[in-house]
């Protein structure tokens, strides 16, 4: 019987969504399912973990230290005494930090960037996407369990199963000495208007084709007409035109909206992995050879500065 653990950290909205997605996926493996939760152990948070299938929660409360080194050490000890077969992490900053340190601590390899995980008779196969999602790679572990996997957000749906309140085991974070000496001295939240990028039904994304920082205004105007979230390629995030939290792609967010409108986006592999599973993709690009057209349901070869203002006007008249 498989024993699966899912590492879940707290975010502003409760347990990280990718953690709930992984719990949902892991329910399908049968056997025992537990969450390792790093955050505030409020009734609400713990109930959400239970509702998504965790019958047990190992609960860690962070201090003002960056919790990752201590959390990895605690997890290593727990894994030593409970022998889980599989530990799943979401591809988040904290998830990557804890998984990486745990891996080195217990000498187990990690399969990262997973978009699918299959478990058959104790055999775990992990799939990831390369070349902008055009090619799938299946890999297996050659060490003994626990098998460590980091999965990309939105690879699986998050669905509650109606599970009840989980059994809670409080785990204290050990003192790991110098390795644990990073302290968080301040937190800054960027205030973003409109719907949250990860949850929005419509996303309007801009690339370098907007030309200038001011060019983003037309993207915002269209988004506000549609009740959409705005997004960006790394090119314009690196240029400082748009906040990093709007970046979609390999090193940014993964989104799967009903409609993704890409304006002045070339469609580099690293961008495509973050959005190619959107239901409907509409692209506007001057270059008819742009790779983004390869994944678009509707491609418009044209100047976004001509097409978008007309689109905004047409929507306004409705």
């Amino acid at each position: 019987m498989a024993k699966t653990w899912v590492f879940v950290e707290e975010t502003e909205e409760g347990p990280a969504t990718v953690g709930l997605e992984l719990l949902t996926k892991a329910r399908g493996f049968g056997g025992e399912l537990a969450a390792v939760f790093l955050g505030n152990g409020s009734e609400e948070n713990l109930a959400a973990l239970g509702a998504h299938g965790a019958s047990k929660v190992f609960h860690m409360t962070p201090s003002d230290a960056l919790p990752t080194a201590a959390a990895a050490a605690a997890l290593a000890d727990l894994a030593g005494s409970h022998s889980p077969d599989l530990i799943l992490f979401g591809l988040t900053y904290t998830g990557r930090d804890v998984a990486g340190r745990l891996s080195a601590r217990i000498g187990k390899t990690i399969l990262s960037n997973a978009t699918d995980i299959a478990m058959e008779g104790g055999m775990v196969t992990v799939t990831n996407e390369i070349l902008g999602g055009m090619t799938l790679v299946d890999a297996i572990f050659e060490n003994d369990p626990p098998y460590l996997v980091i999965a990309r957000p939105k690879s699986f749906p998050a669905e509650p199963s109606g599970g009840g309140a989980p059994e809670i085991e409080t785990v204290s974070l050990p003192d790991v000495g110098h390795a644990g000496s990073a302290i968080v001295t301040a937190s800054h939240t960027e205030h973003l208007e409109g719907p949250k990028l990860e949850d929005a039904a419509i996303v309007v994304a801009a690339g370098r084709g907007i030309g200038t920082e001011e060019g983003f205004a037309v993207i915002e105007e269209l988004a506000s007409k549609l009740g959409a979230a705005t997004a960006a390629t790394r090119a314009i995030v690196d240029a400082g035109w748009v906040a990093y939290s709007k970046q979609v792609g390999q090193t940014g967010k993964t989104v799967k909206p009903d409609v993704y409108i890409a304006a002045g986006v070339s469609g580099a592999m690293q961008h495509l992995v973050g959005m190619k599973d959107s239901k409907v993709i509409i692209a506007i690009n001057k270059d008819e050879e742009a790779p983004i057209f390869g994944v678009s349901d509707l491609g418009v070869v044209g100047d976004l500065h001509k097409v978008l203002p007309k689109l905004i006007e047409a929507l306004g008249n409705r």
Binding site: L66, T68, R96, T135, L136, D138, E142, T251, I284
Partner: protein, 252 residues
Amino acid sequence: MRVAVCVKQIPDPASPYDLDPDTHFVVRPTDQVLDDTDRYGVEMGLQLAEQTEGTVTLVSMGPSGNLQGIRQALAMGADKAVIIDDGTLQGSDSLATAGILAAAIQREGFDLVIAGTESTDGYAGILPQQLAEFLGVPALTFAKKVSVEGDTVRIERQTQTGYDEVEAPVPALVSVTAGVVEPRYPTFKGIMQAKSKPVETLTAGDLGVEVTTKQKIIAIRPAPERASGELIEDDGEAHLKIVALLEQAKVI
């Protein structure tokens, strides 16, 4: 401050790469470039070393080829390079690579280790954390800004909704995001000087490390294709097509 920067040489991303059909490893040409994401780490290392009258040592594992990528980083201003290259390391996973790099960095001595957040070709994105654990130092990860004051390293650490200010005493490891600094271009003088800078090549055996990779690719297959749809030239009326599709998708 002694800064060690982890850099990786990769096949030029602009040219298509091949996977060996038997081993599934990337076929590495002799001409390899410096991973673009590592240019940020090199630049950051150089700035911090300049500020503290320190040194920058490049550490790289992998087939060295003609060292074109390493020379690029030396030409930017790094002082020396240590390369771990032997036949047994091909196809190493992040954990094995981190073990090797840790041994090489420990042998050199360091105050600060800098790595990229993820490489362009492998993008497992976990090596810096594994390396920090092996070295027993704090990992200041996903830095979009880095500064050093005395023995304290401070960063702005990217978060899902903004950033945190994080600090730790050295020795420490920092992983830097692209865009953290503007990488300099090598000058002619830098390129000439790079030719005579020390480049040391070691094997895993020299470091007393045994490497075993514990993951294996079993299949490579095409993803189910997304049928691409209609492509139209904007004749001044293209926005109407977009409106129609938005209606069809029932979002307006």
